[in-house]
């Protein structure tokens, strides 16, 4: 019996070690394992893989590029031209430039780069909210000198701001359409209905239709706070660490919070920013961006309406709803080889010049950040971009925020909803105070 007990406990212990640890660490240990494996490959070989490749062909410069799947073929074609152009340059005489283009979406690309810089792509597309994280992970290289001047001169202010951290330009603006506006179904709502949130809510409730707004996302619910006169501004030092903030949610956030409360406590409210699926499932209006235009048009046909966000009235005063205007960017990973660094920088620049951006607009309707491309007649006539331009009057160019800010500010949406309609001012202020108290911990 005693022996059996001992055997049992040994078995139990080993079993525990297996289940507990096996279960504990899918993220951590696979992360450790994968980067471990990757770095063990890269450890001895990181430098030497390149050198061994170079020893096979010392004149080859191999560049790995990650772009979204829907522009994969276009990028391949663009890179073929860039290759010819660069190989003709004197600086790269006798070199062969080899591009490998893989389909990796913006979100995934940022995640992969942050987890393992060494095995990541040399050039990759990402959304600007990841800029700070990518920079502190050492996945972005600074753009200096004449190249910096060219980028700053050719792109709109929001694009340049989005790619700037502190006073450093660390990415190439690729689009200037990462903002949001209102899509609505013209067969249900009239143009008057979408002037104010109050009318919109009443019309949706009256028609027993859904109103989709992603209130649990800081990116979207910021519009109400910014429109109501509150703001959040973050400053970072050269290393990518946040050093100070100027946040007025707690002091000026009440109008915005009350406006948001009206939306989230409506019976029509649905927490979503996916316009196509929302309209497929009984929505009459949805706040989303240009990326949903094509699919929404397929669903609503001629009934598709695009408008700037409605106004809201709190305590007798009317406010325009604000928004973020944001950008997609192309980043270049820090390089250890000077020639390759130059190839990557020039490639990224040529992918994001007027021609490159216009070709992308024609294929997938991404709104250009390049001033020349943005003035193109086809771009100016796009209904979604027109609505976005209208909304952008009240938009704030999205600067840099700590990763934790997005989580915390996003949570305001659900917390407000939990208070219910007609919540007391003190309770709303309580949420804003809790938010405010969390900010200090995001520094550093």
């Amino acid at each position: 019996m005693k022996k059996n007990f001992m055997k049992g406990s040994i078995l139990a212990l080993s079993f525990l070690a297996l289940t507990a640890c096996g279960g504990t660490s899918p993220a951590a240990s696979s992360q450790a394992a994968s980067s471990g494996a990757a770095s063990s490959g890269a450890a001895s070989s990181g430098a030497s893989v390149e050198s061994s490749v170079q020893s096979v062909d010392p004149n080859a410069i191999n560049v790995l590029v990650w772009v979204a799947e829907n522009i994969l073929d276009l990028t391949k074609a663009q890179l073929a031209e860039v290759k010819a152009e660069l190989e003709g340059m004197e600086a790269f005489a006798g070199k062969t430039i080899n591009y490998t283009v893989n389909p990796v979406g913006e979100g995934e690309a940022a995640g992969n780069m942050i987890t393992d810089v060494e095995s990541g792509a040399d050039i990759y597309g990402f959304a600007q909210d990841q800029l700070a994280r990518l920079y502190s992970a050492g996945a972005l290289t600074e753009i200096t000198g004449t190249l910096k001047a060219t980028i700053q001169a050719e792109n709109d202010v929001s694009g340049v701001n989005a790619a700037t951290f502190g006073d450093k330009l660390i990415a190439f603006p690729m689009t200037s359409d990462n903002g949001y506006f209102l899509y609505y179904d013209k067969s249900v709502l009239s143009e008057e209905d979408v002037d104010t949130w109050e009318d919109l809510i009443a019309a949706c409730e009256g028609a027993n239709k859904n109103l989709a707004f992603n209130a649990s996302s800081a990116w979207y619910n910021f519009g109400f706070f910014y429109g109501g006169g509150a703001d959040s501004v973050w400053t970072a030092d050269a290393s990518g660490a946040f050093t100070a903030y100027d946040d007025t949610y707690a002091t000026n956030g009440m109008p915005g919070a009350k406006g948001l409360l009206k939306v989230v406590t409506s019976t029509a409210y649905v927490d979503s920013s996916n316009a196509p699926t929302s309209f497929e499932s009984n929505a009459a209006a949805c706040v989303s961006g240009t990326w949903d235009y094509k699919d929404t048009k397929d669903i609503l046909g001629d009934n598709i309406g695009c408008a700037a966000l409605p106004d809201f009235t709190v305590d007798g005063e009317t406010y325009h709803t604000g928004s973020f205007s944001g950008n997609k960017l192309i980043g270049v990973k820090p390089q250890t080889d000077a020639l390759k660094s130059a190839v990557c920088a020039l490639t990224a620049q040529k992918l994001t010049n007027a021609k490159g951006q216009l070709e992308r607009f024609n294929l997938v309707q991404w709104g250009p950040s390049n001033k020349v491309a943005a003035a193109d007649p086809a771009v100016v006539a796009n209904p979604a971009l027109v609505a976005l331009a209208e909304q952008n009057v009240n938009a704030k160019p999205q600067g840099q925020f700590p990763g934790a800010w997005w989580d915390t500010a996003g949570a305001i949406g659900n917390s407000l909803k939990d208070l219910g309609a007609g919540a007391a001012d003190a309770d709303i202020q309580g949420i804003l105070d809790t938010y405010n108290a969390a900010l200090e911990g995001m520094l550093g």
């Binding site: 507990a20 660490s25 994280r133 502190s136 992970a137 019976t267 649905v270 949570a411 917390s415 405010n436």
Partner: protein, 505 residues
């Protein structure tokens, strides 16, 4: 407290028996922990003695050994080769050479920096190529690799120390054998032994190395990360991270950070929910699954195979797909709410209200879990000897009594260990929570974007993937291990399967 013998016990009435049992339980708790303490003490004593013996032998073997043995202290395997056991000797020697080469050319640099995890971060320079200015980055110390290969080197050193000890012990044994004028084991004998009585060594050497490198090494690495400041601002290869001692664990006990959400408070809430979830997810599935199996097994039920097949369908479809689909179905603009609205009802906030969300995930988990339990229990139920039921029936037992006196004890006996695994499995049930709610609904009062249905494991995931906060994730990983290990040890010792082994044999 006075223990009653069985006659005295039987004399008590029902109520007194109940009180007696309860008191007995509480009285036995200190004893249980005392026993555990004693066992742990004995374990460490044994280890301590082993280590003392190790050093004693090293000195004794050297003093009493001949010159071949003494040379073997420096040149491993020398004694074995000199005495004609060249295979053993060469292996020892080869290992020493490999070790020295490893330390000199690879491990040494990392080992030397293990104390600081690196001191020189990357340097960025500007150069001009073809008329344009570009940056070039020079990487120096990489904390990640220093920690990883440093730990690997320590493992190697421990292994080599042990081999070195074996090597001198081998010399000692050989000396003894020669002294007794017996014949030494030859290389030929050694080779034959590897496929004969020592065959387990041949078979186990590869798995043992594999487990060390791919399981133990990452776990040790993860544990060590909890004592560093490896987070978004300290990411190799560009930046360094270093040791910070227990700072990360201190954060667990910061209950109030001036009004904002605290890490300690959030951890407490998520741990509590994790335990509640694991309890319900395990036992609702267990009892309902058993009930369904009994229903289908009942005599007179027709189309048994059809019912089983229908239930098994939910297993056949990958969870990944079915859960995402169900999650969509219950969303605010999903099918269920659409139906409710069309019938003129109010929308139900399945995923946006914390209580609805918690109940909904438990119920959906029942739907996924029942078929598994049904399959497992069907076989066991059919195994219960029918004569047990027959005699119970003759004695006038009601169906409920039969269930509680025959079926349930038998099931618990057989499936006790399964219940334990499934409980620990549910504590770490990443899939169901992540795919259904993603941890939401989020709340401003929870730290780091945690939500009300987050389990420790999904929170750990979002800390690593969304916030790059490896240090806190490692702390949580360690805590999950402690909680699971504690619970499992206690439960394992009370389940009938390990206590009354003879009951059903």
């Amino acid at each position: 407290m006075k223990r009653l013998d069985s006659l005295e016990y039987l004399r008590l009435n029902k109520w007194q028996r109940f009180v007696y049992k309860i008191t007995l339980f509480f009285v036995s708790i200190p004893g249980f922990f005392k026993n555990v303490g004693i066992k742990i003490g004995l374990f460490f004593k044994k280890i301590g003695l082993g280590i003392a013996n190790f050093f004693k032998n090293i000195v004794l073997y050297f003093i009493h050994g001949d010159w071949k043995t003494k040379v073997s202290y420096v040149v491993m395997g020398f004694g074995s080769i000199a005495r004609g056991q060249w295979l053993r000797g060469l292996l020892f020697l080869a290992l020493e050479v490999v070790f020295i080469l490893y330390i000199v050319f690879f491990g040494g640099q990392y080992l030397a920096q293990l104390g600081t995890l690196g001191t020189k971060a990357a340097v960025i320079e500007t150069v001009v190529i073809g008329g344009i200015e570009v940056t070039v980055t020079k990487y120096y110390d990489n904390s990640f690799k220093i920690l990883l290969y440093g730990v690997l080197s320590i493992f190697f050193i421990i292994a080599i120390l042990y081999t070195w000890y074996l090597n001198i012990k081998q010399n000692h044994i050989s000396e003894q054998i020669i002294k007794e004028r017996k014949k030494l084991v030859s290389t030929k004998d050694d080779l034959r032994a590897l496929v004969d009585e020592d065959f387990y060594k041949t078979m186990l050497s590869l798995p043992a190395i594999g487990i060390t490198v791919f399981t133990i090494l990452p776990i040790v690495f993860m544990v060590l990360v909890a004592f560093t400041n490896f987070d978004k601002n300290h990411q190799p290869p560009q930046n360094l991270f270093g040791w910070v001692g227990l700072t990360n664990f201190n954060q667990l006990f910061t209950w109030n950070t001036g009004g904002g959400a605290s890490f300690g408070g959030t951890f407490g809430e998520i741990l509590l929910w994790t335990l509640i979830w694991a309890f319900f997810a395990t036992f609702t599935n267990y009892f309902l699954g058993m009930m369904v199996a009994m229903l289908i097994n009942k005599k007179g039920i027709r189309l048994k195979k059809l019912w089983r097949t229908i239930l098994v369908f939910s297993i056949a479809i990958p969870q990944f797909i079915s859960l995402l689909y169900v999650s969509k179905m219950f969303s605010a603009d999903g099918f269920i709410n659409g139906l409710i609205m069309n019938m003129g009802g109010q929308r139900i906030p399945f995923w946006t209200n914390q209580w609805y969300a918690r109940v909904t995930v438990i119920i959906i988990n029942i739907w996924i879990g029942i078929p598994y339990l049904m399959l497992i229990t069907t076989g066991i139920l059919m195994n219960i000897p029918a004569d047990l039921y027959e005699s119970a029936k003759i004695d006038g037992a009601s169906p409920a009594q039969q269930y509680f006196k025959i079926t349930l004890p038998y099931m618990l006996f057989i499936t006790g260990p399964y219940l334990l695994t499934s409980f620990t499995g549910n504590m770490n049930n990443f899939n169901v929570i992540f795919l259904l709610t993603g941890g939401g609904p989020t709340d401003i009062n929870l730290y780091g974007g945690a939500g009300h249905t987050d389990l420790l494991i999904t929170w750990l995931y979002s800390l690593t993937v969304d916030d790059t906060n490896y240090k806190l994730a490692a702390v949580i990983g360690i805590l999950i291990f402690i909680v699971v290990a504690l619970l499992s040890t206690i439960v394992y010792n009370v389940i009938p399967s390990t206590k009354n082994e003879e009951d059903f044999q």
